[in-house]
């Protein structure tokens, strides 16, 4: 092969249009190359695909069932349909199932658009069952049998056990992203895992101990990958509860973390001249979106200078700091 030549490619069709991608690409890569982005929930560019949510499924000619585009490798001559009746049906149902069982109120705009595109109607499963507090104690293979008149949900109270972030599992759609970010895909801390089974499966520390008693190192990488707002900065959580979270008034300032020499980029989300959240760009070559506790949460010194005028949100932020 001559220098600079492309690796051997694979040609397939997406909705009838031919597209060539490098061997080893996924169907999702091919769809994107063809200009047809697909909905995803459990997929993220910086994590290994777990193909659990099934919202990115596509129809591959000759396959009995639909295939997850995020992880199925392309094959020469494959014919992929992304908008067939079967695909639309499955995607609509996955969104409906999730929205009928969890609080999807904080998902991103794209997801909102897809849900309306597929015509989701989560209300058709009946009124949602109210919060319960026994989800962490449920045992595999057993459940309480109801009369079917309320759709079972994952609603429960928010877990607030530290000053840095909260876990609102009423919003959890079990996409596994936080587990991956905590584990092999980023932090290698393994503080959380999927526990339980079936509808009672949940993200948990060992024996549901609080985060401060677990292996958690408070890097906050789970927060940055969460697609539903189930994991959230304590500051954001408190501000939302006080109805003071105003994203359209926030500015985002990119800077470099001042703690060590690695050079992580930080995006400081600022409201009323106060840092309310810190993220890192997912395409940054150093971080791939991941940070450590210092970059993520160690910003207080910036705003504890003593000579700043008190703003309305200071009291809320102080409460979040414990």
């Amino acid at each position: 092969m001559a220098d600079g030549a492309d690796p051997p490619g694979v040609t397939l069709t997406v909705d009838g249009a031919a597209v060539a991608v490098p061997a080893g690409s996924t169907i999702l890569d091919a769809c994107r190359a063809a200009g047809k982005d697909q909905p995803t929930l459990c997929y993220l560019d910086n994590l290994t695909p777990v193909n659990a949510c099934r919202v990115c499924v596509v129809e591959v000619d000759g396959n009995r069932t639909l295939a997850p585009s995020c992880s199925r490798p392309v094959e020469e001559g494959m014919a992929v349909g992304t908008d067939t009746d079967r695909v639309r049906h499955s995607r609509k149902m996955v969104y409906e199932f999730l929205a009928s069982s969890a609080d999807m109120g904080l998902v991103d705009e794209q997801t909102v658009r897809w849900m309306s595109y597929y015509g989701c109607d989560p209300a058709r499963y009946g009124p949602q069952a109210g919060p319960v507090e026994d989800r962490d104690e449920r045992t595999a293979g057993h459940h309480r049998i109801g009369d079917g008149h309320a759709a079972e949900t994952v609603h429960q109270s928010v877990k607030v056990d530290n000053e840095l972030y909260v876990r609102d599992y009423s919003r959890c759609i079990l996409c596994y992203k936080c587990v991956e970010a905590c584990g092999e895909d980023a932090q290698n801390t393994f503080a959380i895992a999927v526990a339980g089974r079936g509808f009672d499966a949940r993200i948990s520390t060992e024996f549901d101990v609080g985060l401060t008693d677990s292996a958690c190192v408070f890097c906050g990488n789970c927060i940055s990958v969460c697609p539903t707002g189930a994991l959230m900065f304590r500051s954001e959580h408190e501000l939302r509860a006080a109805d003071m979270w105003e994203e359209d008034r926030q500015t985002v300032t990119r800077t470099v973390c001042s703690y060590c020499g690695v050079g992580c980029n930080l995006d400081l989300h600022v409201q009323d001249n106060r840092i309310v959240k810190v993220t890192s760009p997912i395409d940054h070559s150093v971080t791939s979106g991941h940070l450590c506790i210092k970059g993520r949460f160690g910003y207080e010194y910036v705003q504890e200078l003593g000579d700043l005028a008190v703003t309305p949100i200071d009291e809320v932020l102080r409460r979040a700091r414990g």
Partner: protein, 581 residues
Amino acid sequence: MDALLGPPKSVWEGGPLQASDHRVSFGGYRRSVENRRLLLPALHAVQDRIGWISQGALGYICRRLTVPPAEAYGVAGFYALLSMEEGPPRRAHVCDDVACRNAGGLDILAGLDGRPDVHPSPCLGQCDRGPAVFLQRAGEEDAVLVSTTARRVAEVLDGGAVSAPSVAVPQAGDPSLRLLRRVGVVDPASLDDYRASGGCAALARAVEMGPDAVLAEVKASNLRGRGGAAFPMGVKWEGVARSPVKPRYLICNADESEPGTFKDRVLMEGDPFALIESMIIAGLAVGAERGYLYIRAEYPLSAARLEEALARMREAGMLGEDAAGSGQMFDIEIRRGGGAYICGEETALMNSIEGKRGEPRNKPPFPTQAGLFGMPTVINNVETLVNVIDIVLEGGAAYAATGTEHSTGTKLFCLAGAVARPGVYEVEFGETLGGLIGLAGGVTGTGRLGAVLLGGAAGMFVGEEHLDMPLTFEDARDRSAALGSGVVLVYDDDADFRDAARRIAQFFRDESCGQCVPCRVGTVRQEELLARHLGGARLEEDLFDDIAKVMMDASICGLGHTASTAIRSAIDLGLLEREDG
């Protein structure tokens, strides 16, 4: 724990601090990966000994194996038979599944209502002699009670002794039997008796023939898998045997959990040497160095007899460095499940052996390419493997002369419910459903057939119009049914099908692993919809179809794909309509 792993070698494994520990550190990622496969046996060791897994015990396991506690907790909580709460030393799991519930299972639960040591259980694979109860006893072997009563269960929970039930098949002594010929006739504990009745001849012949010739005969036999998917065995074997990658693995799937199925249990309890012999032949033919036999925890008698058979055959030189004089290394390890139907799915089973949660993997890649520990793996069901003996002895072509062109050989069927003589029956492929029920003495109860649950909870209800259907893979497919694992659960026309359908919906909700959305939520919504209907509401058929379709199209594995078929068939046959209205 220490009996399983030996004493800790250093402070890093949880032992006392020694001077040498100051200079070395021991642990890390690779060690964690290598040890992970011991997680389930370690959890079992604790559960067996003290009856539950405490936080301290889990912590000790994690230190010994270098496994993160959160992950070990997630694995332990995946299995219904591993308890994370302190409880009584003996626990009874009372089968209230499709076969046992009306055979007395519900009566036992009602009679023992309120006892903290009594739990309802999905099918225990004793459907021909229900009601069945599985007993966990801290510090003692697990046990099974069959054809039992609430009084007897209470007695045993309060310390009474249990003896193992004997195994018999209704056709015992019939000279036409192949797979069942030794069951109930030959002593399952004696290698000498096994040999005297023709055992081990196939292994000797296979070693003489060599792997390529064995493979050729298996392909010529056209044997198709008996676990439910009916995949040609020769294709799997060849895929692995021709793979350039090593090591390769063989797995025997003995996690028989489909409600209504008990054929593999009868084979393992009645003729354990035959299964081990078949596994050795298979392992040598595909060039695997190690075989795993993954058996459900609810079969303690099968597991004990197989352990015994394994020890005898290892002593006789049929396993080990030079297995049966073949010059090849092959040995077998028995693994116990933990109470999870989903672990019968081949890739979930592999994850379970690897010490992970028993969640199915996305396919492709298939196990023959990347199976256990990512290596090429042959995985076959118990009944499928045992056929290998006759294939080797008779030759593939002679074997293929039995049965039909596309369904060769004989098939085991599990007859239970409203039949006169329930049990495992072996018939040539092509026998009709009606003929098989006749063999079992015909319909009892009202004497009039209501429906047959064919293939188990993952199968479907069929009515009288199917009685003339020849039992072959192709005829079943042509008539939109499937033989599945060979369940023929017979109901008379007075049976409560509404109750049966509800139990099936409950089963799938309980047994869904929870990994993918269509199945995790779909099985819940399906159960809710059915509950509304059985409570008097109009059947929301469009919504049912929507739920069924997404589970069938977009679930990761077969559990989701088949979670609505039985209920769909019950609706189609009008079985859910009220008699009074």
